[in-house]
């Protein structure tokens, strides 16, 4: 029975991997040129040559649009997911490792950086006029002040940087609107390009990985080997890199397929609503939106819908723990 279960699981994994690989291969094979619509066969049903999967109301081939939609997934959803996890992981581990009191910076540097910011604001016109000279003199001036203050005992005393509270505040800020509405509004203010959409998704979706990473880091920080590493005098960076990340990294990696699935869902929903990517970018969601023009065209739902569900299911399958 156990063996049977394991076989089943491996089989599922293999199937999921096979499907995802074929999506990636399809995306790489698809040409980026826009095909001319076949105006003689608009909204033609599938299984007829030359369009084996049918055409949409504009006369575009569905099979071709599916391939190009896979390309959009590869170039938009996956980079966005990777960036989301990187940002969320970094912020979450910083918040968990230092919490509110751990990140101590000497008063001298606090004052120097405060002066730098104040100088940038106060001398903004000069910065516009002569950027190099003003910024150079600002940097050297503030550096000098910081260095001088650092010579005194008062200046060397640390002030804590409340990084945990800061990141928690940011998370509360972003979570106060449902994701879809936030992205919808920002995308409406200015129609984003593909790169802009990746950035927008990254900046709005990082909260969940950050929360997970913060919890994992909080747990790991208390372990004995981290204590030992700190006692041995390793720097914060080394403790994080050598002793904490190897243990917390799997949390984020396990999250990767789920994040990709989430972002594919978000991107296709936006394209379906006609908001996200520019109209000429093919997407499975945009293909599905064709159903609104010809409600009887079941093939416009079946193929992209099946592709979408299979991809999401495969990604979910991958994120299950290996037995």
């Amino acid at each position: 029975m156990k063996q049977m279960q394991r076989f089943c699981q491996n089989w599922h994994r293999a199937l999921a991997l096979f499907w995802l690989t074929s999506v990636v291969v399809a995306a790489l094979l698809a040409t980026s040129t826009v095909l001319v619509p076949d105006l003689l066969h608009t909204a033609s049903p599938p299984f007829l040559s030359p369009h084996w999967l049918g055409t949409d109301p504009q006369g575009f081939d569905v099979a071709y649009a599916l391939l190009q939609g896979a390309r959009t997934i590869l170039y938009v959803s996956i980079p966005a997911a990777a960036l989301t996890l990187l940002l969320g992981g970094a912020l979450g581990s910083a918040a968990g490792y230092w919490s509110n009191t751990g990140l101590r910076v000497a008063r001298s540097w606090w004052i120097a950086s405060g002066l730098l910011v104040a100088g940038c604001i106060g001398l903004a016109t000069q910065l516009y006029a002569a950027f190099l000279v003003t910024s150079g003199s600002l940097l050297t001036g503030c550096g000098l002040i910081g260095w001088l203050l650092h010579q005194s005992t008062w200046g060397r005393r640390p002030w804590a940087f409340p990084i945990d509270a800061l990141i928690a505040g940011l998370i509360v800020l972003l979570d106060s609107i449902p994701l879809l509405v936030l992205v919808l509004v920002v995308a409406a203010i200015q129609q984003p390009s593909a790169g802009g959409l990746v950035l927008l998704m990254t900046l709005t979706c990082w909260t969940t990985p950050a929360r997970l990473m913060r919890a994992a880091t909080l747990r790991t920080r208390e372990l004995a080997h981290v204590e030992a590493a700190r006692a041995a005098g390793l720097s914060d960076w080394q403790v994080l890199r050598r002793h904490i990340w190897p243990l917390t990294w799997p949390v984020v990696m396990l999250r990767l397929p789920l994040t990709i699935a989430l972002l594919i869902g978000l991107e296709t929903t936006l394209s379906f609503l006609g908001v996200g990517l520019p109209p000429e970018t093919p997407s499975w969601g945009r293909l599905l939106a064709g159903i609104r023009q010809s409600p009887a065209a079941w093939w416009l739902i079946l193929w992209p819908g099946a592709a979408l569900v299979l991809t999401t299911l495969s990604l979910h399958q991958l994120s299950r723990k290996k037995q």
């Binding site: 903004a124 800020l173 106060s176 449902p178 509405v181 509004v185 203010i189 929903t269 569900v309």
Partner: protein
């Protein structure tokens, strides 16, 4: 300690909500071209001369307060920073918002609050019905799963996980194609609310509305219930292994009694967080469903405002959703306390 908890549960969400709405306001005003919406109406009128048009644009800008500076301070590369006083767009907008005045729509020149109230008349039945149904269905199925045989439970859970993989718009279009298709099963209407027909008597209206809302509500329920069931089922599974359950069984309680009387209350705690997100998420989900089923509700209002860059309407909708979210969170915190007296605020 008291002030801290008040800040954490009341202050922080409100400040966050205010900040989000303010940032979105400043973004909409700063990034977009103010004159574009006036230009479109003026250019339609070809009788106007160029000079007249300029003047008219200025007048219209002045009337809607768009010729003022955007924020308390402004920056210009040559003149530097300048204090603008309280006669700026942000101040005017914020003070009107505090009086619950959301401004006028760019497109139709109607008050935004009127448009929102009108839209809520359609969205509230949709979302509230969907929320109640998913809650009931979630409770029923999750407890029912522990009363049936294990293989059946695994089968249902697998099916639910598969259902979770489909995004809302796919489920909704699928339902539309299956049940509102003249070629297949023409059971339900595919769009509208059926209120435009005058012949229906007043006592027929609720039933008629239910008939028209069936597919939209069902698609929302199909999306929001699986996560609820999966989470509640996992929590129940964990609770049923606790010692107090053994005690309850030893006293002679049936499985049904053990679940409903003893385990469910404890298992429900982690699900409360999910529930507090249910209503705002349903409002967001209503965007997709209302666009697809052509219901004149909040979601469609938002989507249309997004497509036509009608920023006051868009911001008004966001304000409403943010407020719903904050209220739902407060209610969830209160419910936590009711459900588990060990939690102290």
């Amino acid at each position: 300690m008291k002030a801290r908890t008040a800040w954490r549960y009341l202050g922080r969400p409100i400040v966050a909500a205010w900040l989000v709405v303010s940032i979105l306001f400043l973004l909409t005003r700063a990034v977009s071209n103010n004159t574009s919406f006036i230009q479109a109406t003026l250019e339609a009128d070809s009788r106007l001369q160029l000079a007249e048009r300029e003047q008219l644009t200025q007048q219209l800008l002045h009337r809607s307060g768009l010729d003022r500076p955007l924020f308390y301070v402004s920056f210009h590369p040559i003149t530097g920073w300048q204090w603008q006083g309280i006669h700026n767009q942000y101040h005017a907008w914020a003070s009107r918002l505090l009086h619950a005045d959301l401004g006028l729509s760019y497109r139709s020149q109607n008050p935004v609050s009127e448009l929102l109230v009108e839209a809520l008349r359609y969205t509230l039945p949709l979302t509230v019905l969907a929320a109640l149904l998913s809650l009931g269905l979630g409770l029923g199925v999750a407890t029912g799963l522990h009363l049936t045989s294990p293989p059946r439970r695994t089968a249902v859970l697998t099916a639910l996980q598969a259902l979770q993989a489909a995004p809302l718009f796919l489920i909704a279009t699928g339902l539309l194609l299956l049940f509102a298709n003249p070629d297949f099963l023409d059971w339900f209407p595919s769009f509208g609310l059926g209120t435009e027909e005058e012949t229906t008597a007043w006592w027929q209206l609720p039933g008629r509305q239910l008939y028209y809302l069936a597919l939209p509500v069902f698609s929302l329920v199909l999306v929001s219930t699986p996560p609820l069931i999966i989470q509640l089922d996992g929590a129940l599974q964990q609770e049923l292994q606790q010692l107090y359950v053994v005690t309850a069984r030893a006293k002679g309680a049936s499985q049904r009694q053990v679940i409903w009387r003893h385990a469910l209350r404890n298992a429900f705690l982690p699900t409360l967080t999910l529930l507090s997100e249910l209503l705002p998420n349903l409002v967001a989900g209503a965007v997709v469903v209302e666009v697809l089923f052509a219901l004149p509700g909040m979601g469609r209002l938002l989507a249309e405002a997004a497509a036509t860059q009608d920023h006051p309407v868009l911001l008004g909708g966001v304000v409403l959703i943010v407020v719903t979210r904050v209220v739902a969170q407060l209610l969830a915190d209160g419910a936590y306390r009711l459900a588990d007296p060990r939690i102290r605020l």
